[in-house]
């Protein structure tokens, strides 16, 4: 079944066609194709080394493919620079954290929020200089009230939304992994993306946090966002994804609804076979986490 048939989803947001990437003699991706539609959470699963992160890099522009095309809303973005793709509405997080470590959590999100702002505009330059109004009674600098203040308020709101209320002033490199992943997510959401690529966002989260993450992603998709999720937490993937692609050795070996993936013998042989018991998320008393 195709993604269009598998859900009541909207238009195609991302179309990856026959993408191939080689690193020297190693084929990281061979003829990989997938489609992500608006208003859905689409899963991308596969063992370590299957090519999931390489595919994310190709889609976000950090890696040029040897062959194949990437289209965003029908526009060919295969050779487009990463920042231009982001301006078209593509945001991502990283498997290995890529935070602005010297900045606070709030500032990380602010950088995303203000990414379309031209810094040389006078109103933004002026906001860097102190004014009497910014002075608080206790002598400390008040939080900005100029043009940057909208970003501060919104970054607080976004951090609140990913469960990091009150942590805006913490240096991001000092945060635990789970919290740092949520800062990355908040920074990506700050772009108000139409397509969100999440590379193992559940890593480092406990069961309750993972549950909340699932609800958050479902809410975002319900609002029209297209989400492409790479995740090893099978319970989470099976629960929130409407459509799933399975990568193995750079090939898309299967795709379908969670039910189809569960029962697909190819998937069981190549991937889920690595886990004892059924792959329905109910085995083993709790999260059926695949560590391939």
């Amino acid at each position: 079944m195709s993604p269009a048939e598998g859900s009541a989803a909207g238009a195609d947001v991302l179309t990856v066609s026959d993408v191939a990437v080689r690193f020297g003699g190693v084929a990281a991706l061979r003829e990989a194709s997938l489609t992500v539609r608006a208003g859905t959470v689409t899963g991308l699963i596969g063992p370590n080394g299957a090519g999931k992160t390489t595919l994310f890099n190709v889609v976000s522009g950090l890696q040029h493919p040897d062959r194949g095309t990437v289209r965003l809303f029908g526009t060919d973005i295969t050779r487009m620079k990463p920042h231009r793709r982001a301006r078209l509405g593509l945001a991502r997080t990283f498997q290995r954290l890529e935070l602005f470590g010297t900045l606070s959590a709030g500032e990380n999100v602010q950088v995303g929020l203000e990414s379309s702002v031209k810094w040389w505009q006078w109103r933004h330059v002026r906001s860097s200089f102190p004014t009497i109004r910014n002075r608080r009674a206790d002598g400390a600098e008040a939080r900005p009230t100029g043009p940057g203040s909208t970003a501060v308020v919104t970054s607080d709101r976004l951090l609140d939304g990913v469960g990091l209320a009150g942590l805006a002033d913490r240096q991001s490199s000092a945060l635990p992994t789970g919290s740092a992943r949520m800062v990355e997510l908040a920074r990506a959401l700050a772009l108000a993306p139409k397509l969100l690529l999440l590379d193992e966002p559940g890593s480092g989260l406990d069961d309750a946090e993972s549950q909340s993450l699932g609800e958050l992603l479902t809410t975002l998709a319900r609002g029209g966002m297209a989400v492409l999720l790479v995740e090893h937490d099978m319970e989470l993937v099976m629960r929130i994804c409407e459509y799933i692609y399975v990568l193995d050795f750079g090939d898309v070996i299967a795709s379908g609804t969670p039910d189809e993936i569960r029962t697909n013998p190819l998937v069981q042989a190549a991937y889920l076979g690595a886990v004892a018991g059924p792959a329905d998320g109910s085995a083993g008393g709790g999260g059926n986490r695949v560590e391939a």
């Binding site: 982001a86 890529e98 602005f100 470590g101 108000a192 809410t219």
Partner: protein
């Protein structure tokens, strides 16, 4: 035709010499991940040692070569790895660059003390005689250099491609832990790499020394390797055959340009173009390199961020600083220190402090290493001297604008590459400007450029006190500007692009534009500093803005703290005072300082024990434990985000 063949043979020989130096760079980079800026200085020391043994002590040539290249090169390489580089494992990317620059200034400093620059030293060919082939004379020395270079390239290629040790040498950079699990010591492999690379540097120095027809000099021998940089870059610091071919091509091109192109140009341009050639080659190499992929490497800066002073705090600190300077101006109005008035020294400190601030912005915040801020200073001083009579505000503005424009042009070819290439490009630019522009008597004049003191309608800064306070005011303004930038949207972007280029690009921000912009601003600041420096000095010449003093100053800023305004000021104080006390030892202090500070990325001021907290200053980065996170989602997310529009 015979001339062409003669030039070709000499060009190949020159290129072969560059190839040996360049393959040494490739070997070191391949086996340690470090680009050795001291490669030329190591070759220079080897050349001087060889001269000492052969010309002074009359040691047989072969013995001298074995002692200098094999023994000396191996021991020096092993020591450099063990003492300097091994402790930098895991340090920030620019730290090894700084340490090899420290080694560079130490070696040139030691050479200046041991071998007086005023003495002429000629090195004879190792083998004498010549033979005729197709109507041209070919010297055996030329054949020797070409043969040795070919043998070295072939030997290294075979080592890296066909032996187990070669695989281990290459693997040490890729994954030292995995190599250790395979039973091979990564440290030992890295040490072997440094030994090989240093032996190559020594061999290049010894072989190229006889080509210096006017005798070997410390600066010329050290900088001879810049052409090797270009070749190594064409080889992408990986491929020995490509590096070798590029080096030979550069040697040929250099010789053809000198013999066929320069004679048709005005005579006064000849030395400028000759000196500028290495930079032209390096820039061509940089421009033709394919873009470096932005790799998501999971790098997470764990460095504690220096606290950025708030707006009012910086205003109060600036005013206090200015009042203190005024007290100094009154107290030491007629006092001299080592033959220079204290106020003149103060003026130099303030102007160099502005250069330090430009480095805070460029390197401290955005992570780009520039070694050519003194070159911009020199250009700024030159513009100041030539515009509106040499003592006007218009000159200051022109100096700032011209340097900002040139800065943008210098950084443009390198923004799509890694920061190492910017350091290389700036090194080559500083070298070319110092030797091809500042040294030209038609530009700066034999006696230097005169720059008058600034006069405004109804206001003159002709007096020493007024001049000092004016330059101090510019320093304070520059410090306010740098801090304001750091607090601004642009400042956040500078830090962000340094912390994670991959994330920066994927949030919709243009890395290239940001890097060019900050480089231009920093170059403009350095140009302004040069103009002010000129007004303090009265006359400036080529020696004021040479390449090595510029490198030494960068090291002092790094030693104190390249991320803070205080670090920039203290570096300027250290540089000016040491130059007054012991000019020949400034490089030694800078080199030893950067080595001693090791991997402390925030410099001396970043060391906790040395920090002084002002009681009225509130707030500091808190890296303590984090409260448990609240559940995700919630009402705040319901509406999604509202992106701030420009």
């Amino acid at each position: 035709m015979s001339n062409f063949l003669q030039y070709t043979i000499f060009g190949i020989m020159l290129g072969a010499g560059y190839a040996i130096a360049a393959t040494g760079l490739v070997v070191t980079y391949t086996t340690s991940g470090v680009f050795n800026f001291a490669q030329g200085a190591l070759g220079m020391i080897a050349a001087f040692c060889y001269w000492e043994l052969v010309s002074v002590d009359h040691v047989p040539v072969l013995v001298a070569v074995l002692v200098v290249v094999v023994l000396g090169g191996a021991v020096a390489g092993a020591l450099v790895e063990r003492v300097l580089m091994r402790r930098l494992h895991g340090a920030s990317a620019e730290r090894p660059v700084m340490v090899t620059l420290g080694l560079l200034v130490i070696l040139t400093g030691v050479a200046t003390i041991v071998w007086s620059p005023t003495t002429s030293r000629s090195v004879d060919n190792m083998v004498h005689g010549q033979f005729r082939l197709v109507g041209i004379n070919i010297q055996y020395q030329e054949v020797l250099i070409i043969g040795v270079a070919l043998a070295v390239a072939a030997g290294l290629r075979a080592l890296f491609r066909s032996t187990r040790s070669g695989y281990a040498l290459r693997a040490v950079v890729d994954d030292p832990d995995l190599l250790a699990m395979a039973g091979v010591s990564p440290n030992r492999m890295s040490q072997y790499g440094w030994m090989l690379g240093t032996m190559m540097a020594a061999l290049a120095g010894v072989l190229l020394a006889p080509t210096q027809t006017s005798g070997i000099s410390i600066a010329a021998m050290t900088l001879l390797v810049v052409n090797g940089y270009a070749a190594a870059i064409v080889g992408r610091l990986r491929s020995i055959p490509v590096t070798f071919a590029a080096a030979v091509a550069i040697g040929l091109a250099e010789n053809y340009v000198i013999n066929y192109v320069l004679p048709h140009l005005p005579q006064n341009l000849t030395p400028d173009i000759t000196y500028a050639l290495p930079m032209v080659f390096l820039f061509l190499a940089l421009v033709t390199l394919p873009s470096v992929r932005l790799r998501a490497v999971g790098r997470l800066t764990t460095m504690r961020a220096p606290r950025v002073a708030g707006g009012f705090e910086s205003i109060v600190a600036g005013l206090v600083f200015f009042v203190a300077a005024a007290i100094v101006a009154i107290t030491f109005a007629n006092t001299a220190f080592k033959g220079t008035t204290v106020l003149d020294l103060g003026g130099l400190i303030m102007s160099l402090g502005i250069v330090g601030l430009s480095l805070v912005l460029l390197t401290g915040y955005s992570g780009q290493v520039s070694l050519c801020q003194f070159a911009f200073m020199g250009i700024g001083a030159f513009v100041m001297g030539k515009v509106a009579g040499g003592g006007s505000v218009l000159g200051l503005l022109a100096a700032t604008a011209v340097c900002a424009g040139i800065g943008a042009l210098v950084s443009l070819p390198t923004v799509r590459l890694s920061d190492l290439y910017l350091a290389l490009a700036t090194f080559a630019f500083a070298d070319a400007v110092a030797t091809g522009f500042f040294a030209d008597n038609h530009i700066y004049g034999a006696g230097g450029v005169s720059i008058g003191r600034i006069v405004l309608p109804g206001l003159s800064f002709g007096g020493d006190q007024a001049e000092f306070l004016m330059v101090t005011a510019f320093f304070v303004l520059a410090a306010w500007l740098v801090l304001a930038i750091r607090r601004s949207l642009f400042g956040r972007r500078l830090v962000a692009v340094n912390d994670s280029p991959a994330a920066y690009a994927t949030v919709g921000l243009d890395i290239g534009f940001t890097k060019v912009a900050v480089f231009a601003i920093a170059a403009g600041m350095a140009g302004l500093a040069g103009a002010l420096y000129g007004t303090v000095q009265g006359v400036v010449g080529q020696t004021d803005f040479a390449i090595f003093p510029g490198v030494i100053f960068v090291l002092f800023v790094t030693i104190w703290s390249i991320r803070t305004v205080s670090g920039a000021f203290l570096a300027a104080v250290t540089y000016v005072v040491l130059n007054q006390v012991w000019p020949n030892g400034v490089g030694l202090f800078a080199g030893l300082g950067i080595i001693l500070i090791g991997r402390a990325a925030s410099g001396l001021l970043g060391i906790e024990a040395l920090q002084v907290r002002l009681p009225w200053v509130k707030g500091s980065p808190d890296t303590a434990g984090v409260r448990p996170a609240a559940p995700l989602g919630g009402p705040a997310m319901a509406g999604g985000s509202s992106r701030v529009a420009g």
